[in-house]
Amino acid sequence: MKKIPCRKSFTETLLDLAKKDEKIIALASDSRGSVTLNEYADTLPDQFVECGIAEQNEVGIAAGLAEMGFKPFVCAPACFLSTRSLEQVKVDVAYSNTNVKIIGISGGVSYGALGMSHHSLQDIAVMRAIPGITILLPADEYQTREMTKELANFDGPVYVRMGRGAVDNVYSDDFAPFEIGRANVLTQGNDIAIVATGETVPQAFNASKILSKEGINARVLDFHTIKPFDKEAILKAADECGAILTVEEHSKFGGLGEAVAHLLIENNPVPMKIIGFADEALVSGNSSELFEYYGLDSHSIACAAKELLRK
């Protein structure tokens, strides 16, 4: 079956839900094409608000709509929503506790060679530090579908980040568990735990296959929810595996890795390593070139796991 990008899975599901729930409103900032909202906008024009290239305004308008009883989904590139609109997210959404879903698409390095203005490698860090926002990064199209259904009934501020291209599926049409705040265990293993989030989950999953050929049984945890943080899953993994490798399409600073490190240092400081992007304006390249260059592809993850085990 043909793989579809998470953003497409999101918009298809949202359209289905919105047909049955007129309170759902999608907002765009000249982003309907990049989000894949064209069909939604044509089908439900009354449940679509175009804001033009004005991401701050877009989030503010969503907060106002939420206060009037709507369920707004703000859809735009993650880079702009998580930095340009950050004050609106902090004050109008999180602080005022409005029922706004901030949907960041083409996140991480999806936009590759377009450069740092278009990368969102700080979003987890900033959102984590704002009280009151749930942070979700679905792993594949099936999980995105389940997540979207859950979001329609979830009351409160949420930040979601998805990528641009299609990724390898780790779930299937009839198996894509998604419970906010509860990590999924993808592979059972006790040699090392690989904790990944979003679209690095398929990479981590593939890394575990490479490792198993060499007799190393890795436990892969899909951390689709960064906040609230599933402490139990991490502490259990630390206890049973004794070493933890984290993987995220994000700066090494302030993301999933540091959240795990924080928890371990206060409870059970097992050896760990954080895989993420270096603290620099990245070199030019498409997303797979960047994944390889900065060590986020499945082979690099497998190598890092072995190195961590040698320590």
């Binding site: 000249d30 290239i53 305004n57 377009l114 450069g115 203005s117 070199v283 030019s284 390249g285």
Partner: protein
């Protein structure tokens, strides 16, 4: 470069270089680059004081590409002006190239990193204010898209520019009437644009942004006026110069196939013949 004809020829040549570059990279923002080429040429080959051999010359005029996605025309002009070798253009958007998909200061001639819309005018205000404080006679040019004008930061800068009477600031709007999702007037209407800028305390002049004569005249008027920041509304055609790209929204980031490139280059060669 002085004559209108020379500038017109240059603009066609730049279009050719630029389209080749986008085709080679398999990526780029074609429509808005084509609409703004004439503006870039009028500035870099005629109106602006600048020196490719001395890119950090203190009194150079500054140019900010606020609509940073139109980088292909900009890189082509910089390379052609001698800021860096033209051969480098073939590395555009490739792995480890300095020529990333939005303007970057690592590239000689580029003043600021742009790409997120709505940043150029505030920076331009800062530069113009700084130049005044220093008695630096340079002029600051900022090129913006029309869709870009929905960003609030532009209007904050608009207010600041007139507050500080920045007559050394000349902003230009590439008024091609289109943005990614379609017509600006359908997506987020801008009209009456001239009156809006006037109300914010700017002098305005409307020009045909794909007509060299009109552009040069407009820039001359803006340069002479004193006491207020200057806005040039340059009416353009998105995709200008290639028949099948003109006014077609999807060419915003469309990439020409081999056949489309050949067709486009043929049309541009014909334009050159007509000019010569």
């Amino acid at each position: 470069m002085n004559t209108i004809k020379e500038l017109e020829i240059k603009a066609v040549e730049i279009r050719k270089i630029m389209l080749q570059m986008i085709h080679d990279a398999g990526a780029g923002h074609t429509g808005g680059s084509l609409s703004s080429v004439d503006i870039l040429v009028s500035l870099f080959y005629n109106k602006m004081k600048h020196d490719a051999n001395n890119p950090n010359w203190d009194e150079r005029d500054r140019f900010l590409l606020s609509k940073g996605h139109s980088v292909e025309g900009y890189y082509s002009v910089l390379a052609d002006s001698g800021y860096f070798p033209k051969e480098d253009l073939s590395t555009f958007s490739k792995f480890k190239s300095e020529l990333i998909g939005h303007p970057n200061k690592n590239v000689p001639g580029v003043e600021m990193n742009t790409g997120s819309l709505g940043h150029g005018l505030p920076i331009g205000v800062g530069m113009a204010l700084g130049a005044k404080k220093l008695g630096n006679p340079c002029t600051i040019y900022v090129l913006m898209g029309d869709g870009e004008l929905a960003e609030g930061s532009i209007w904050e800068a608009a207010m600041a520019a007139s507050n500080y009477k920045l007559d050394n600031l000349i902003a230009i709007i590439d008024r091609n009437g289109l943005q990614i999702s379609g017509c600006t007037e359908d997506v987020m209407s801008l009209e009456n644009l001239k009156e809006k800028w006037a109300a914010f305390g700017w002098d305005t002049v409307e020009v045909d942004g794909n007509n060299m004569q009109s552009l040069i005249e407009g820039l001359d008027i803006a340069k002479k006026r004193k006491g207020k920041p200057q806005m040039i509304i340059a009416k353009t055609i998105k995709g200008k110069g290639v028949s099948f790209m003109e006014n077609v929204p999807t060419w915003h980031h469309g990439v020409p196939s081999k056949e489309e490139l050949e067709q486009a280059l043929k049309e541009l060669d014909n334009s050159l013949k007509e000019l010569m």
